[in-house]
Subunit: 446 residues, 2 copies
């Protein structure tokens, strides 16, 4: 029996979409290259069928059916991935988790909130906000990504410098394993009960099991939020100020530095030619926020940074998730993407300069720039942006790949980590060995 | 060829101890039950031989030799484990990592310090302190435990409420895998490059690979340290104050609550009958510490807590790692141990009361008490202490096991996690399924 027929037998016909009933947007995620291919008429195929589960039992039945039939099963959240983790294949089954989208529990005493994996991120945040709480995880994709996808990709939010990345926010993960058993990883506030099984699933991008439910460790909404901004004469000055702030024990929830190129867009009318821009958001108990702002201002001034209007930051907060769609850019033959990496403090400037210089050497490139968006005691991330344009549409895919290669090669050669928070997917697959080594890749494969 | 002869061939005779050359203290760790057996003349056997490697290559050769011969290989740090992870067996090889004990690198810019796995914990802390830095990991065993052992057991330090547990402090782990390959897990300040392979090794207690080197993400020594203490009328008042403090966004690096029984010992002359005792240490930039103390004092008073002399805390800081040896206690026929568990806020008091009541019902029991020592947004840990005494030495082992059973059953039945930070070893092996579930245990086994 064909796999779609088997799944209809197992789950009923309403939960299995076949043929024309499969929506076009279940053929790939939000990877630029998939959208370029579509734009140029190279359409990704539809999967053999799409399963829309509404319960853990449905997922178990799907896993068992596909495993027994030897058919690959691809989990799909809300499709906001930007690394090409999902591309349709006519012999594969796509498991559309967006149909598992219920709030399970919100516990304001233990600060825990549980959701089905397919629940929308912004709706989850809004749901806990009703009780004065916050998940504190604000990826740019928050309105179009699922809470399960956050876990599957090891996502970071814009407030990560204060509130941590998804691995610091997750409390427990429910998943269906390849043998059809259900795991509940994470039971207590903290455990030394063998290796932490949540980390088998965090970043697994669908390879280790199907994430069906997640529980987050929440925070109370901050008593106070304030913003600060500073201009820096060089990126190095900005990096050093950021390092001093974080290593002194302060924790602005947001701390970003835009290079002179990007500062033009972010600072708007307040832009100052040639200067980079550091912006911060401070949250917490009122007294802590006040003490933090007083002290980080002294630190910043010590590195020659000059105060900038805080309205730059409030404007950023308002507009931070507005980005042009790939369609608008593709209509102009623009090749655009962002590439996030991470680096120790001693390597970051070398990576920044090497990668930006390399991007600027790209024959069709208009823009090569970067900002930092997540800060750690041991280092920082960089978020590169490239924009290229060509009158030869058939070169666009190669130009795209060439720009990724420029950034990741500069990063790996200069001692950085090739993936900060978007994950691996297809775009970074060949570079993974730079981070994990041969033994690491072999271990994952096993 | 016998395994010891094979290892001598592979590593040379100076690195392989056999027969009488094997020290007695390489037969077991610091588990109470092992010491009881020794005390009563039931001596643990020596292993087939003891390998003392001085390089990663030595460990690779040992792993390959033992694997090919089908002989179990048991890694041993400094022997401070308290769960019976290591017990000698005449057919097993013990890998004594205490011979791998070099400082590899201290990087004061990126706040990273790398050590061989067998390096002594307190020496590591002292080494980075020379440069004004701290690992910030202060287990009670710090002077007798190895940095690799911290990772293998998923240890916690006394300052974990502010500085995190070992998984928050580790930057990278070097290990020799069962196939003899060397893994370096953790390259960047943060990565979304597949599942975090460090977590295969954290808490693995020797089952996944041999940890040979560790790199920690350091902190600068705090600018200011201050202490506060409060009496609480009931444990529940204390828990609620602790919950309010942590959920309000304050982070005292130490926050502990002793029940009325234990407060007697900790408060000394300041003891007040029937009251529990909350102690805190505050560290960080001076302004942050001052703001924290002002606000947490208000919070504590709001829950009816009364300020206590801070010298209680400074005395605790001085004496916190002084504990009687098992030998002194065994000489008096005392059966003593501590059991650490963790629990969500809504479960902790029920667990506390149930477990202490059960300990007090133990027929030979003198003391059943508890304190908390690590605080999280979602909950807290409890550290139970039991003391029993008997005139029938042959009942001591059973009394010991019965007391563990009392605490872990009360914990599991009331929704807690059965292991906070000492690990599993032999003492918790049969309880592991309570935390991980059948699927979790099966996943680890695979």
């Amino acid at each position: 029996m064909a796999i779609d027929a088997q799944l209809i037998e197992a789950l009923g016909s309403t939960k299995v979409l076949v043929g024309d009933a499969i929506p076009d947007d279940r053929r790939h995620d939000y990877w630029f290259l998939s959208h370029l291919h579509e734009h140029q008429g190279r359409h990704a195929p539809k999967p053999a069928c799409v399963v829309r589960p509404t319960s853990v039992e449905d997922v178990v039945a799907t896993v068992n059916t596909c495993r027994d039939a030897g058919v690959p099963l691809i989990p799909f959240g809300l499709g906001s991935g930007v690394c090409g983790g999902v591309i349709g294949h006519p012999d594969h089954v796509l498991l559309d988790m967006s149909s598992m989208n219920k709030v399970r529990d919100i516990d304001a005493t233990n600060l825990l909130a549980s959701f089905d994996a397919g629940y929308n991120g912004l709706e989850a945040e809004n749901k806990v906000a009703e009780q004065g709480l916050t998940i504190g995880h604000w990826p740019q994709s928050i309105s179009v990504s699922s809470v399960g996808g956050w876990v599957a990709t090891r996502a970071s939010g814009q407030f990560s410098t204060g509130y941590g990345n998804i691995e610091d926010i997750i409390y427990s993960i429910e998943a269906v394993m390849p043998d059809g058993s259900v795991i509940n990883a994470g039971k207590a506030p903290r455990a030394a009960a063998g290796p932490d099984l949540r980390h088998l699933l965090l970043g697994s991008e669908g390879t280790m099991g199907i994430i069906t439910g997640v529980t987050f460790s929440l925070r109370r909404a901050a008593e106070k939020q304030s913003c600060t901004a500073f201009f820096a004469i060089t990126m190095v000055d900005g990096f050093e100020a950021q390092r001093e702030i974080i290593q002194s024990g302060w924790e602005p929830v947001v701390m970003r530095q835009y290079d002179a190129q990007e500062a033009r867009r972010v600072a708007g009318d307040h832009f100052r030619e040639g200067l980079s821009l550091v912006i911060m958001v401070h949250e917490g108990p009122s007294e802590k926020v006040d003490a933090e702002i007083e002290e980080i201002t002294k630190i910043a001034e010590g590195f020659g940074l000059e105060s900038a209007p805080s309205e730059i930051v409030t404007r950023w907060l308002e507009h931070r998730n507005h980005v042009p769609s790939w369609g608008e850019l593709l209509d102009k033959n623009l090749i655009v993407d962002t590439v996030e990496i991470s680096a120790p403090w001693t390597k970051v400037n070398q990576i920044y300069e090497t990668a930006v210089a390399s991007l600027k050497e790209g024959p069709s490139n208009l823009i090569g720039s970067a900002h930092s968006s997540h800060v750690y005691r041991s280092g920082i991330n960089l978020y590169f942006t490239f924009v290229a344009q060509t009158e030869k549409p058939d070169e666009m895919a190669d130009i795209y790949t060439d720009n990724w290669q420029r950034v990741l090669t500069a990063t790996a050669k200069n001692g950085g980590g090739i993936a900060h928070h978007h994950g691996i997917g297809r775009v970074r697959k060949d570079y993974l060995v730079n981070d994990l080594g041969e033994t690491g890749v072999a271990t994952l494969r096993k």
